[in-house]
Subunit: 439 residues, 4 copies
Amino acid sequence: MLKTTFNRIPKKLMQAETTPAPHEKLAILAEKYTRVRRQTEALCRPLKTEDYVIQSMEDVSPTKWHLAHTTWFFETFVLAKYDTAYEPLNPDYAYLFNSYYVQAGDRFSRPHRGLLSRPGVDEVYAYRAYVDERMQQFLDAADESLAPEVLDVLEIGLNHEQQHQELLMTDVKHVLSVNPLYPAYDPDTVLPASEPLDMDWADIPEGIVHAGYDGSGFSYDNEGPAHRVFLEPCQLAIRPITNAEYLAFVQDGAYRNPVLWLSEGWATIEREGWKHPLYWKPTDHGWQEFTAAGLRDMDLHAPATHLSYFEADAFVRWAGWRLPTEFEWEHAASGRALDGHYSDERVFHPQISSKYAPAGPYHNLFGSAWEWTSSHYSPYPGYRAAPGALGEYNGKFMYNQFVLRGGSVATPSDHIRATYRNFFPGYARWQFSAIRPAR
Amino acid sequence: MLKTTFNRIPKKLMQAETTPAPHEKLAILAEKYTRVRRQTEALCRPLKTEDYVIQSMEDVSPTKWHLAHTTWFFETFVLAKYDTAYEPLNPDYAYLFNSYYVQAGDRFSRPHRGLLSRPGVDEVYAYRAYVDERMQQFLDAADESLAPEVLDVLEIGLNHEQQHQELLMTDVKHVLSVNPLYPAYDPDTVLPASEPLDMDWADIPEGIVHAGYDGSGFSYDNEGPAHRVFLEPCQLAIRPITNAEYLAFVQDGAYRNPVLWLSEGWATIEREGWKHPLYWKPTDHGWQEFTAAGLRDMDLHAPATHLSYFEADAFVRWAGWRLPTEFEWEHAASGRALDGHYSDERVFHPQISSKYAPAGPYHNLFGSAWEWTSSHYSPYPGYRAAPGALGEYNGKFMYNQFVLRGGSVATPSDHIRATYRNFFPGYARWQFSAIRPAR
Amino acid sequence: MLKTTFNRIPKKLMQAETTPAPHEKLAILAEKYTRVRRQTEALCRPLKTEDYVIQSMEDVSPTKWHLAHTTWFFETFVLAKYDTAYEPLNPDYAYLFNSYYVQAGDRFSRPHRGLLSRPGVDEVYAYRAYVDERMQQFLDAADESLAPEVLDVLEIGLNHEQQHQELLMTDVKHVLSVNPLYPAYDPDTVLPASEPLDMDWADIPEGIVHAGYDGSGFSYDNEGPAHRVFLEPCQLAIRPITNAEYLAFVQDGAYRNPVLWLSEGWATIEREGWKHPLYWKPTDHGWQEFTAAGLRDMDLHAPATHLSYFEADAFVRWAGWRLPTEFEWEHAASGRALDGHYSDERVFHPQISSKYAPAGPYHNLFGSAWEWTSSHYSPYPGYRAAPGALGEYNGKFMYNQFVLRGGSVATPSDHIRATYRNFFPGYARWQFSAIRPAR
Amino acid sequence: MLKTTFNRIPKKLMQAETTPAPHEKLAILAEKYTRVRRQTEALCRPLKTEDYVIQSMEDVSPTKWHLAHTTWFFETFVLAKYDTAYEPLNPDYAYLFNSYYVQAGDRFSRPHRGLLSRPGVDEVYAYRAYVDERMQQFLDAADESLAPEVLDVLEIGLNHEQQHQELLMTDVKHVLSVNPLYPAYDPDTVLPASEPLDMDWADIPEGIVHAGYDGSGFSYDNEGPAHRVFLEPCQLAIRPITNAEYLAFVQDGAYRNPVLWLSEGWATIEREGWKHPLYWKPTDHGWQEFTAAGLRDMDLHAPATHLSYFEADAFVRWAGWRLPTEFEWEHAASGRALDGHYSDERVFHPQISSKYAPAGPYHNLFGSAWEWTSSHYSPYPGYRAAPGALGEYNGKFMYNQFVLRGGSVATPSDHIRATYRNFFPGYARWQFSAIRPAR
């Protein structure tokens, strides 16, 4: 079961809306193109060449694959289609760097991405430079005759690359974590200290609410159509669960007690030998956590992260609570500022802080760490996949996955919305994923 | 991922309600005890001793295991607990015939149930007779001092056995189907002919509807709490999809076209080599289907059954439709007569007929074959698992399963409700499961 | 890797020899036919119908499969070929009961033999009776015009069935052993007590010796051609290793000490969780052993049996000894009486006794338990597979198997020779297999 | 089942012999140390950093692991033991670069060697330089008080590194081969053309021959003790099988014909989908072969190489021949010049040429490609494993492996003898392994 956060197409492909004039939009996207492409490469700056190559588990892709695949997207869906003069740098790359787009041709087997030493890292950067240069020329030459769908595809490509920025960061963290030397992603990282905040709850009243995206900006197709949902009354926690709270669960023997777990969760624990969260490590000097700065003492006030749905679900059952539905979460988040700790800060470690919403009621809804909801990832009423290679896989993953909301320290700040639906299977725990309970 | 339709506890364990007086209820349940226990054994009458032993895949249990496990339930949760004079026939049976009740002690590994030749079939029937006799004595001796929860447990035990009647039938069908001799469950079975009915649609208007059980009879905990849901307007098909319609899908190359399938569905097709529904068989004389009467020519007007969620989902995508949510289905079914083709008829083959609802709009909502909904099996708002061994696993299976509604030819007629939630994982296709599309 | 003791063809198919006159041989074989066929059925007498159905691991075949497969052999290679009037009882049986003879047509998947409830046990016995009757008629009608190869095939078929008698017994023992109830094969079995015999050694001098069969009776093709081998001087133990000796090895921590084991042996221990021999069981009352009479206290003077090659090899390494080569063993056994404990005694439990060779030097070389040699199962110089379905697989198993010599309590007394080569892969331990060290 | 050519210890550890005086031997080994260590690094010169990291299958180790592991050997068994002043560069390396020496401490899981990006390639070279410098100082300071076993261990370490040179080359070839870009190990490689030589046979008469090493130089423990073997008369081919001859076998449908294969061989073909040798590739322009120079047209006169035992065995069966035993091979090779094509030439492609033995009878017995024998890898009579970490695994691999003889283009010319026993499991085909038939 492979991870696929990057399979959404923007709503705009399907419906007419009031948008900026084409030439304005072109200028905006051209600027964004340069920025996003540079950001991706900046994330890789602390890495050694060898780090780019490793696929530490099937869900992970090598860094150089991320770099090439995001480039392949622009080559395949913009240049090859709309730039009649375009010559590919290497025709084999289309095969190597396609991910799952069946309609875009054959693709190299995903679990074997870590077996490819060539093209080398330098060649992958050369590929990026080559495509960036052609894209620059193409965008410079664009005028009013440019087909509007080119702008749409360009916008998707940039959102697609931003999603891969997050995966690249979480994949690199995993690659480094399996090494007994526990190398730091960036030894200069200063981990932020979390603020101790008492647990409290905010009310969500009953009623019909609106869910899904209905604005005029960019959104993915899975965020729509906007529709109505009835909520029964409930309460949502004002902050995520901390390491201290999760530690109490671990120390209560939770990982040895089948009664607390979903049947599949318990099977996973037994098969994989889970005893605690993925990046925790018990040592003679107490609990440590693998971070962007290497192995460090655990901050008990920080949000417990890198948790699977199974762990989130078991924790709230143990505590006598539950997870919120994605609609409860969205309703609580709706209309609030998107401020939070994002990848723009380049501090890849989540924290609890009241900085962005001093008046409350909620802290850290956005940024810092994604929050699991109890909602299976399902289509909204009236959802239909868009035709063509970009759309073919849009609904493909609506099976055995759960929705997460809110973004993380690995999400770019302009890549999140209250309606944004991230999703992962129940066992996945290498993302920055946390728990905000409801009751 | 194991099947577990039999893990529900009745709502009544948790809430006080107006129920029949205890002595009336006792009389009703005592009569039902005799009837249900006999029914189970009647289902086995056509079998040879050897048929009772086989576990043809991990999801299947041997017939003699079903016979013993349902008996173990009464022994463990009624006699051992409330009959102080009770001596078990064989103390090892507690270990052999526990299924997943962790709190009720250790249990024999599920995938190895087919490796046990002993106790033999005769010994298992002796075990049933022994427990039935003790139960009879226990119920005869019961007076007003009987704790009310005994009646509750008895009621669960009978519903539990009725669920196993359905599994026993579908398991036996699977066991016989893997044999190249294609033996008939009952060679005397006369397969019913389905009625040709044109496809049509009935409207479901938008609005807040009530979902879940709120009556005073028996229901499972997963059918509650009753709550409100908002439905967007839609249409529901008046009958399930027929073999003829599904055959068009097969002949259109659906099993070779990844674009139609969920990602996990396509992976399943490739891994398992699926080319058509489980019990279909292409022969030189056209399509045949494995039935209770052995291999027979396919009835094109009959409902397409033994379909997985993957197949149901791909079919409706191909047709331009979708599956209904469980709330749409329940709303359509609410208030309608439960009449249909059930196991009481002892004709284990689904059919489409307008006999039970000549005025429409819906045909075969109940009985004949379960209908897949698009709803992941999730807890209703406010759901909480009941404590103790009976309740421990109640919510355990709310992961990676989809809800089916309406009952089948293998369901007892007094074991179905509009609110009844059956559930299976997406790949499961050995149940009598069908498609009723929405749009 | 599947067991295949039954894949040999007699040497006589390939070379002319002095044999009894055809009509004498016919009479001998006709008598033997009746005897062997009855013997096979006698072995099954203590079984319940359910016991016939189970395949407790991939290497095991259900009892009813053995009964049918040995019958299929005579049907396919004698009746169908040489009896022009023969009509098969059921043409599907050819598919169900072929084992691996590719040239004899398709065959049912071996690991799924335990999924077949039909034909039932009564039908299998009817199949045996049907073929036996036709064979009787065929043999009665035979005169001097009978092709000599028919006698050869008949002789193979009888040896083939005798091999299956041994497998049937060891398979049944395994089937019963995986049941937590530990049912006895025959509760009336009286286990024989072994005689305490001090360990001692007999000399084998250096020199060129003859190996392989060169007599005029029946032998398998893998026993030839007879050839010369040079032996360096060595010593061979006068009796097999006892349970007491093997227990010292177990109690010395051998199953936790990787240094003692072959690399593959250690991997097997870790994967399978081996802690002691297959049928040993530590209890509160000391070590017990699963036997034909059920779980019984271990006889410390009895030969340690049901050992894999891995265990035999690790034991002799621990003891500072080694296993003999098959040529050392054959040379020691050559010319000695074949007397020993065989299946004719119907006491399916090995023992050490000086009864058959009071003067020594060797005890229990023949019968009681097979003895592992250090020899990989390889062809003798000049060996060539015979053509046709009977011969096709003759050399197929000469890979990753080790030779065992001497026969066991499950071997018929007329089915053993000093030159007889049994063989199993290194992990196999459900046979009556023991250790006789050399040094 | 893991590859383990590098687990032998020299015979000299166990027996006194006439050897050079210690100071002479020290001088010889000190010179060899410098030479071998440089050679290893020279093999890596054409590689990109990314190539060092990949583990393309479980049997393969990453290049940087080979570089570090051979260094760890000298650090652990020489410096840490005999140089009291030695400080390890990084104590974690002992864990990361141990291979299977249980007595030398814990070790990192073999199948996960390809998940380690750190230490980086530069750090591994620094590790080599560090150990080389300390070794240089240690050897410079050595005088007559040096314990003789240090020289022995040094000699093993150098032979160990030479074995890894061969594995490093075959592993790199495999790593590059799984890449759809088919990168060349060295694009400047000029592939040598093979000489067309007619097949012919040389006689080996019957008699007792001597086998195993009994000289005074270095040899592995598995080459002894020297002993006597009786050979029946036979003939050995004068040259290995060519691509043309093997192609006839492929084109005769051999990979679709189960009758030709060992049972395990056929199971491997079906499981792995083998259709031809590992590095062959059918193209529109005919057969190509993956070589050190990338994909190239196949030289029909070259020896067919990179064959498994299964393929070698099936080929000779198809041709009506057989493989020689290792004793037949050794007898034929005994007393002949060791000249041939070795890694010293730095042309990593096998060829048939009469250059080294113009008078015959045999060509290419040594160098070019290893030759499979029919001999399972078993201990010679009287063989005993030496004690201690170096020796613990000496006999561990004498299970399910076959002996190969003669060396290859990846073997150093001073690392081969007529008595040298290489060994691999039957499925292994990434070595330079070929067929020389006997009959």
